[in-house]
Amino acid sequence: MTKKTVLVACGTAVATSTVVATAIVEAMGDRGIDVETRQCKATEVPSMLDGVDLIVSTTPLPPNLPKPAIVTLAFLTGIGRDAEINRIADILRA
C-alpha cells in the first residue's frame, strides 16, 4: 500500500493538531498503514488539499470539501477514540 497523507487541522495549526497528528501516525502504524501528516489551520484546508487522502480536524471545517473529512475531539479527550481510529483506517484502506 502506498503512503497515505492525512491533513490535520485545528485553530492555530500548532497545539491540538500536533497531538492529533502524533496519535494518528501511531494508531495507523499499529495497523500497518503508512501515513504522513501535514498540519494547518482549519481555514487553510481548502488550499492544502493537493495529494491529501483524508482531513481530520478538531474544529468545524469549511463546507463542500472535495476530500473525505472527519471532525472529532476523540484524540484529545479519548472519548470514542477506537471508533474514530477504525473509521480513519477504513477510509485510508479504501
Partner: protein
Amino acid sequence: MTDSMNTTSFLSREDIFTGLTARNANEVIGQLADHLLSRGKVRSSYRGAVEERERTMPTGLPLEDGLAVAVPHTDPEHVIASGAAVATLKEPVTFRSMDDPDKELPVRLVFMLALHSKEEQLEMLSAIGGLIQDNKTLQSLCEAQDSGQIYADIDRYLKLGG
C-alpha cells in the same frame, strides 16, 4: 524529588491557581494571560489574541461524566517562551466546545497555553492530553486545594509521555 527539566521550564507551581473566581471565560483568560505576561512568557498582545481566538474558535473540551476543560491559546507570534498557566475554578464557567461552537460547556479546569514552537511544546501537550483522558485524576484535580498536587500530576504525565 527531582523535577523533570521540561516541567520546570514550562510550568512551575506559581503558574497554578486553585479555586479561581471568575464570572465568565474572558475573566479566566484575562487573569491567566496577565499572569503569563508578568512572568515574561507572552507579549502584551497575547491576552487580546486569546480572547479573540476563543470567541471565533473556542477551546472547550467535553469529557466523561459531564466534566469539561478548556485549553485557551493563540498563535506563536504573541508568545515569547513556551509555558502554561493552570487554574481550577471555584464555580464552573461556560466555555464553548471546540468541535461545535454552539455547544456550551461548564468548565472546572483551564490549561492556558503559551505556545512558541511545535517541537518545543509537544511534551507539554502530550502530558496535558494524557491527563485530560484520565478521568479519575482529573476529578481529583478539580477538587484540589493545593497547587502542589496539580503540579505533581502534570509532572507525572510528562514523565509517562516522555
